[in-house]
């Protein structure tokens, strides 16, 4: 297994390299650059600024320069728009996003997985219909509706909760709830589907026939197989959650990373955006690896793949 992890990490480096290359040329193909909207600057000042960041060179040369700086100096460059080091900007916005993402994930798992398991067990009962209805509502009502609703009906009523801001630990609650609702719904539905697949298997019937207690059957015989699709989904979902969400960050004024993804694109801030892409790619590589390992640990039939 150590060899497997080592191999995957090596492959991960390759993934990041390919990702960086594709993204660099895609971003460079965007019309305009970081200084297009600066109307006040004179033509000469513009040229000077572009030269300062190397944006006046041909794209392949820019790419080579970026790569050299990244590999030799571990330097992500300076954001032309914000005039700050990209690594500094990312370091600032990284903790809020991770904290928010972890909490949202926690909420999603605590709500979603039990709902899914019990709906599968009690398939086609009122509990099933009710919880799946709830899950569907979680998917229908996007963050830009849940957020304001929570602000209006909870934050305004409960004195301990603020409408927006990011100072005390309590401020995490509402944005995490908003962010976690959709993944909770996905988890519930996926878990229910995976569990139904397993509950029909012969060995589960055998377990019932042996007279095992119901909870033991669920815990020891079905959960590991039934949660397989859930875990396959969790890897990328987790990466998505902790790389920040623009909508939730905007609504609740969270100083996270999601806005840099969007603003980096809108402002054509190539170095900032590449920094975000690299960070997100890194998360995807690591979390997909973790998710694959957990799947193999849960299902003996997958262990050959390790």
């Amino acid at each position: 297994m150590l060899r497997f992890i080592f191999q995957r990490l090596l492959q991960g480096l390759l993934v990041l390299f390919v990702l960086l290359t594709i993204s660099f040329f895609l971003i460079s193909a965007l019309p305009g650059d970081a200084f297009v909207k600066e109307k006040k600057m004179s033509e000469e000042a513009l040229q000077e600024q572009r030269a300062r960041f190397g944006l006046d060179r041909p794209v392949p040369l820019q790419y080579a320069m970026y790569l050299k700086r990244l590999i030799v100096n571990q330097d992500l460059g300076i954001s032309p728009k914000k005039n700050r080091e990209v690594s500094y900007i990312l370091k600032q916005s990284f903790p809020p996003s991770v904290i928010l993402g972890l909490n949202a994930l926690f909420i999603a798992c605590v709500i979603g997985i039990p709902l899914g398991v019990f709906s599968a067990v009690k398939k086609n009962t009122w509990f099933d219909y009710f919880s799946m209805g709830f899950a569907m509502i979680g998917i229908c009502v996007a963050a830009f509706i849940v957020g304001p609703l929570l602000q209006t009906f909870i934050a305004m009523k409960v004195p301990a909760l603020k409408v927006a801001g990011w100072e005390t630990p309590l401020d995490i609650l509402l944005p995490a709830l908003t962010l976690g609702l959709a993944p909770a719904a996905y988890l519930a539905r996926l878990t229910r589907g995976g569990m139904l697949e397993i509950l029909n298997q012969d060995y589960v019937r055998t377990a019932y026939a042996k007279g095992l207690p119901f909870l033991t059957i669920i815990r020891r015989h079905t959960l590991r197989g039934g949660l397989l699709p859930t875990v396959a989904f969790l890897g990328p979902a987790f990466a998505g959650l902790i790389s920040g969400s623009f909508v939730v960050e905007t609504i609740f004024q969270v100083p996270g990373m999601g806005r840099h993804f969007i603003n980096g694109t809108v402002d054509r801030d190539i170095f900032l955006l590449l920094g975000c892409v690299l960070y997100y790619g890194f998360l995807i590589v690591i979390l997909n690896l973790v998710s694959d390992i957990i799947q193999a640990l849960m299902n003996p039939r997958l262990r050959d793949s390790l």
């Binding site: 396959a232 993804f261 694109t265």
Partner: protein, 320 residues
């Protein structure tokens, strides 16, 4: 199996699809949902043509309630709400359904081939998925929009010249189409990744099982084993996930519009209508509730149909 019948010449096994169709018809909720979806499609794509123009403004008649002229009232610019909902439904349903269909085909085949082949090919294919996960999506959309805007201008000029159709309607229609195409391409191109991961995990666990070994020892080709023996067994979780991607993509389009990159005004979609309605949540709740009702009911129908399909396609379900 129906092998208990006495005459051997009629003792044919029924296919999975026949069984599934048979079981699906028994499921009243699923059939009802299917009928509801067909009605919704008819409403959005046929009935909408007979409605008022969804983009005509009448600022003297803002926020009017239900009346003979405007069945569901009007919005913040005095536009007919029902007509906007139906026209918006066209865009939302096209985005949700097409992108899901593409994602379904690519994701399942890709994940199945990757998982079944294993080894280096599997590693390469799944690492490519990792790369695609992290590609900056907005950049892709902006680039595609640029590409299609240029092409749409040429296309409408060509059509007007060759076919001699009235200029304004053609341009309007083409603009509506060219507005959706980049979204569709981008969402379809990147929407299949999680489905591929889910399918691959299922296939990995199937390829060790006895029925696959049996198929292999019979000398069946890998493609046949995949298509006839493995993929049908993985469809359950995939269909469940797919019923989630339809609303997922529809809402994703709304989020893109929230960023100004989705459907452009005055065109609308369910997501955009819901988002706009949210602005008037406290004073004019109907503007949020009515589009939300269309969206949610369609979603529930998809959901129940998907559950019905999952149950019907479960190879282990009793054949009765």
């Amino acid at each position: 199996m129906t092998s208990s019948e006495p005459q051997p010449e009629f003792a044919r096994g029924t296919s999975l699809w026949m069984d599934a169709w048979h079981r699906l018809r028994q499921n009243k909720v699923a059939v009802g949902s299917g009928i509801f979806l067909i009605l919704m499609l008819l409403l959005c794509f046929v009935a909408a043509w007979f409605m008022a123009d969804p983009n005509i403004q009448n600022l003297d008649n803002k926020f009017s309630s239900s009346s003979g002229a405007h069945w569901l009232g009007t919005d913040q610019m005095g536009r007919d709400l029902l007509s906007r909902i139906l026209y918006g439904g066209q865009l939302s349903l096209v985005v949700g359904l097409t992108a899901t269909a593409v994602a379904f085909c690519i994701g399942i085949l890709y994940g199945a081939v990757s998982g079944y082949t294993g080894g280096r090919i599997d590693a390469t294919m799944m690492r490519l998925v990792d790369v695609l996960y992290a590609i900056p999506f907005l950049v892709l959309i902006i680039l595609l929009q640029q590409l299609f805007d240029a092409k749409a201008g040429e296309a409408s000029a060509w059509i007007i010249e060759k076919l001699n159709i009235e200029k304004q309607t053609t341009q309007k229609t083409i603009r509506r189409i060219s507005n959706v195409v980049p979204l569709l391409v981008a969402i379809s191109a990147l929407g299949w990744l999680t489905l591929a991961r889910i399918t691959r995990a299922q296939v990995l666990s199937m390829k060790q099982q006895e029925f696959t070994q049996a198929a292999r020892s019979l000398g069946l080709s890998p493609m046949r084993i995949l298509l006839r023996h493995i993929i049908p067994n993985t469809l359950g979780p995939s269909i469940v996930y797919v019923t989630l991607t339809v609303p997922g993509f529809i809402m994703y389009e709304a989020t893109l519009s929230f960023l100004g990159l989705g459907i452009k005004a005055p065109n609308s979609s369910w997501g955009v209508l819901i988002k706009d309605g949210a602005n008037f949540m406290e004073t004019q709740p109907m503007l949020l509730i009515l589009p939300g009702l269309f969206f949610t009911s369609t979603l529930f129908a998809f959901n129940f149909l998907g559950d019905g399909l999952r149950d019907a396609l479960d190879p282990k379900a009793a054949k009765d």
